[in-house]
Symmetry: C2
Subunit: 337 residues, 2 copies
Amino acid sequence: ASESNLIRVTLFPGDGIGPEIAESVKQVFKAADVPVEWEEHYVGKEVDPRTQSFLTWESLESVRRNKVGLKGPMATPIGKGHRSLNLTLRKELNLYANVRPCYSLPGYKTKHDDVDLITIRENTEGEYSGLEHQVVRGVVESLKIITRHASLRVAEYAFHYANAHGRERVSAIHKANIMQKTDGLFLKCCREVAEKYPEIKYEEVVIDNCCMMLVKNPSLFDVLVMPNLYGDIISDLCAGLIGGLGLTPSCNIGEGGIALAEAVHGSAPDIAGQNKANPTALLLSGVSMLRHLDLHDKADKIQNAVLNTIAEGKYRTGDLGGKSTTTDFTKAICDHL
Amino acid sequence: ASESNLIRVTLFPGDGIGPEIAESVKQVFKAADVPVEWEEHYVGKEVDPRTQSFLTWESLESVRRNKVGLKGPMATPIGKGHRSLNLTLRKELNLYANVRPCYSLPGYKTKHDDVDLITIRENTEGEYSGLEHQVVRGVVESLKIITRHASLRVAEYAFHYANAHGRERVSAIHKANIMQKTDGLFLKCCREVAEKYPEIKYEEVVIDNCCMMLVKNPSLFDVLVMPNLYGDIISDLCAGLIGGLGLTPSCNIGEGGIALAEAVHGSAPDIAGQNKANPTALLLSGVSMLRHLDLHDKADKIQNAVLNTIAEGKYRTGDLGGKSTTTDFTKAICDHL
Ligand SMILES: CC(C)[C@H](C(=O)O)[C@@H](O)C(=O)O
Ligand SMILES: CC(C)[C@H](C(=O)O)[C@@H](O)C(=O)O
């Protein structure tokens, strides 16, 4: 790839094991000859008044300019007067849809071997409004906000995604039997969008029932779309089905075509710097990012190399019951390319 | 048991398969010589203005008087101008805690064989406030209400229950990293109560993480206490781990010592009247009710008979992969007594 054809991607290596797994991604992408140029940004050491968080304004500008980014785990520093890093990113970049593919990894055994679903979470409103107050002493309330705008937007994305990825069904997850107005509006928007995609099946599933079905038979589901908190809960539940957050990719979609892919697991300070971290979630998030860029050949190539390396079982990191270092696992993936 | 020693219990057989499984409970309780006298009440054919629902005022009065009841599935009739039957019961009887023991049934194989936990759900407020409104066209909000009163009350019940049942740990489930004021107050109340029970371990687990842990390793949990919606979600998830709502008991605890045990599965109109229904959830709910009445001998006896019948595997209803009728399964349980 010649200089001018390179796609500039903002890279947040993040904290703890972040730099190690980011290094792994850089090596694998290089070995796969992916035409990217990384623009690295780190979390600042103090609150940037322009973002009210430890994220620097420059780093957000970088994502806005490049329209595509990859993010490792960030440990939100404790203390008052600043916002969580994840929430700041969602808010500042208007990352309205969080997309998490979740599939059983061949050769890595869990209690389920038939998971293949996508959770699409509304990422900007609902129970995350931040609007809370004390009514009187001992009585507090928080507001869940659902708007037609944000509901249509995430529903559109879900059907667009299902269509583009050859998926058959979209399930809207809700509790409209209790929250008739808020979740009811969310469902109404989903139905409107569903009508534009007659070839995609559409169904509505109550969240409690959905969770029961997911643990009994996850193969019943295909694409799931839902309000913020339900998405938070169900995406983690689904990750649990296939082995945990260390294995699942995530990609946030923002207005204006922005995509910020991220590993959603923690920064694992206990093993940071010890060459023990599993880079799978960040690698597969990188794959999601490549699919967003329509670089499906490269995405397939890297995804297969990661999955085959795990399936073979010779090189696995400690979290998967193996003894490999991050660098050996990474090298094995590069050898599979 | 002589007439005067009989405990009067309100029985709502309910709809669909309700009368058949209620009949099963009556037979098993009789065979076990449980000193109860049933006072049967049915859901009315029209809305009772005093309850604004199809539940009659007399039936609620019966529970208030007897302080103990057992309830089969009720199908809320569709239409406007009345409240859901379940919600009416919770509201009118102030049923503040919903207790659901959930344990793997010996001999009935699911993906998990090590489940043994209790979910205790706040049952009166939170996301179920019913307070919703449209702010402007396309923007709706619903209010989640958390009070010190209701949070302390359910936390007290959870620790009391853990203590009385020899449980080691109580986990409060929350999303206080996002809803700092509402879920924060809930946690504060749990901590206050926890201090009074130094011999019981106390921990706090974020709901998304809790769901992931539950599907990976449910044996990590013991007693879980949480706000209304989280309880709704997690209790169904847990039921899924051991086979579904047809197998899990539930008991609602109200002010003034009221206990209303219930089967939380649906009324299964498709198999109603065909002698095919599985009475396990209602039987085990009856067991929960007996424990609430401190009739542990009878409770143990019936619980063992039900579990042994299922474990033996000779008599199982269709939902468990068998071919037994409700009456044959019931007879087998009575034979085990
Ligand atoms: C860390 C937390 C604020 C966040 C959320 O609740 O959204 C996390 O659970 C996630 O899913 O990204
Ligand atoms: C039917 C519905 C209103 C109810 C609830 O949400 O509480 C049910 O799911 C339950 O758990 O009893």
